[in-house]
Symmetry: C2
């Protein structure tokens, strides 16, 4: 007769991540003591960049891939920060062992950009000169400034030339700028769901977001951290506006249509439609993880970026010295950066005689598609990255 | 030798309006003592409607045309309120002697809807029960409520049947509802740049506008008038968001592109791009002429309208009893209510066996096109209204 008097102790369950995941990752903070001259004319005397890396750098340092993040992204692109992390990094669908950006083949570097709010020096960091958060005194940085800081990061990591630089949306602009600014340091460039510059409508949406933030009385001219408050309603509104532009009309219809949370109309202004409730939730939860000054700064970097403006407003001229092989991807229902915007880049690259592959993916998800695991997209990125891997091996011979 | 000792007195210059203008017009306030049962279940015991009329009602009252206004419109559709009025009514391009809606042929009636803020009973009116402005206590009215109130207005004016009812955007929804609710009282119906119901994306933009207004600390839960204040920044933001959706991407590019007010970037968040400056101006000036509670109410009326929902979600069924001859017009670059949305109406009307003409106008102006004098549009509306006039004459025989 079995002895039931003592229950067996519970085994210690260690969470097992899928084989295709990079698993647990730990961000690393790199301090840079060399001053960085910024586009605005100011100098950043010293700064930190927070990075994550996945995979191993090979001996010849020829297999490094840089991931550039978009407006609200950060360094945490893949894997998990703890055993009980509910969500992986923002591009976990693409980065991992055997995935499109295969960490068995590549050394993948992902960073939080300067001005960000996830550890790299930015408005929430302490300004060494005042001992208080930088807040609104943090300089407005540009895509060009970011790429300069990326180059210093590459130097630090011993990477003379990236096998590939990959980015979507605002990240795609950084990729483009890399190929222009440091043509010898990028072998392959993937520009996804991006544009060579914002349209008036794009700027208009950014302006609404900024006005929402700046008109929030809790904004306190950007010094809210010093007063231990937050412009939560303004930042939430900014996110709501942004979110609408990330989704296609079709995607919203599929997700919410006119579905209601209540059976009968309430004849008031509560969240009666599911889409209202969703947007409110998106707005509120964003305010818990993002900084309002960083949001302002990121939207301004978007507004300002226009590489052609430095070359007689001629994008062909701007790209004349680029040496990378390009992959450009757009999504049919993306109305924030429509396929036509990607095609401006493709056409300029063709005219400039560059090596470019272009894929327009038929996808209903709108701009957000670039973050998703859509077979045609994932497969194309995967095939292209495989060629990058092959060429990178040839390169090391 | 002429006597110069006394300068001739200046002649009294009376401004001459163009021959095609209805000229000086005076709004009229009609008081209704009969109670109006509203969709929300509440009763409006008495109310005022402010109207303007242009042209003469013929003896058989067969030449009356009702104009239904959109979100921020009002009764002042044509002509001028004073000699030094800078701008005519909002649809002066279409209404006047010899114009598309020819006041030599038609008796045109334009009103400010219930819940409006230009004289008809609404949130800025005094609630007779409290002696204070209605504010947030004014009931949320619906397109159906408006059409019921229009019918009382028609009764008052002695109009048994409208020769035509014409409206754009939210106005088009009122036209549609008229044909469903009072099929015997509408001979012709023009539904312009409209939709049979809002999409999730449409509702989402309305929700952003409402959140902007309601999160403004000056909103005071809608009782700002009692405190002699205004939620100006929230209402301004709401208008900015709305305005972006009224213009096409192309129209914004043509109007502003990336043009700047400043030569060099300022690296701050001032209005550097023309489009930023324009939107700020649009937002600010709107707050001087519009009421925030009315804005909430108008957006909710838009959200709620869905005539098919009363008929098993079948628009064909909803329109089954309509007797009017329809004209439906859409504009190619309108992304607020795209041509596809107009085509939903057209297809349902066809299926229901109704008489419908459909015109998709190739126009770069976006949703705002419906307010503009675009030759193909104006000519088509003019030709259709001429047929309405001819049939109206036959009708009176």
């Amino acid at each position: 007769m079995p002895d039931h008097s003592q229950a067996p102790s519970e085994p210690v369950v260690t969470r097992s991540f899928p084989d295709s995941s990079v698993g647990l990752v730990t961000p690393e903070t790199l301090h840079f003591d060399q001053p960085l001259a910024l586009s605005c004319g100011r100098m950043l005397e010293q700064f930190d960049l927070v990075i994550e890396t996945y995979g191993e750098l090979n001996k010849s340092a020829s297999n490094a891939v840089l991931i550039c993040h978009a407006l609200s992204g950060d360094h945490h692109a893949a894997g998990y920060h703890s055993e009980d992390d509910r969500k992986p990094g923002w591009w976990d669908s693409a980065i991992g062992p055997g995935k499109a950006i295969d960490t068995n083949q590549f050394y993948v570097v992902s960073l939080n950009n300067l001005g960000g709010c996830r550890g790299s020096t930015g408005p929430v960091s302490i300004n060494p000169e005042t001992g208080k958060p930088w807040g609104p005194d943090f300089p407005v940085v540009t895509v060009e400034d970011w790429v300069e800081s990326h180059a210093l990061l590459a130097d630090r990591l011993g990477i003379t030339q990236w096998a590939a630089i990959v980015g979507g949306s605002l990240g795609g602009m950084q990729v483009l700028e890399w190929t222009i600014r440091f043509p010898d340091r990028v072998r392959h460039a993937a520009v996804i769901a991006s544009a060579p510059k914002l349209s008036a409508q794009n700027i208009a949406f950014n302006e609404v977001a900024r006005q929402a933030i700046m008109s929030d009385p809790q904004f306190l001219e950007g010094r809210y951290l010093e007063s231990e408050t937050l412009p939560a309603s303004g930042l939430g509104l900014a996110r709501m506006v942004g979110h609408i532009t990330y989704l296609s009309d079709d995607a919203m219809k599929a997700k919410f249509d006119r579905d209601r949370k209540v059976t009968d109309f309430q004849f008031d202004y509560g969240a009666e439609f599911q889409v209202e409730s969703y947007l409110r939730y998106q707005g509120e939860s964003f305010t818990k993880r993002f900084d309002a000054n960083t949001y302002l700064l990121m939207t301004r970097a978007l507004d300002y970026y226009d590489p052609a403006s430095r070359h007689n407003h001629n994008l062909v001229e701007a790209l004349a010295n680029a040496k990378a092989r390009f992959l450009v991807i757009s999504f049919t229902t993306d109305w924030r950066f429509s396929p036509e915007r990607s095609e401006e880049i493709v056409n300029a690259l063709h005219t400039a005689g560059k090596d470019v592959s272009y894929l327009k993916v038929d996808a209903p998800q709108g701009h957000d598609a670039f973050l998703m695991d859509i077979p045609r997209y994932t497969n194309a990125l995967s095939a292209w990255m495989n060629r990058v891997a092959t060429e990178s091996k040839e390169y090391t011979v």
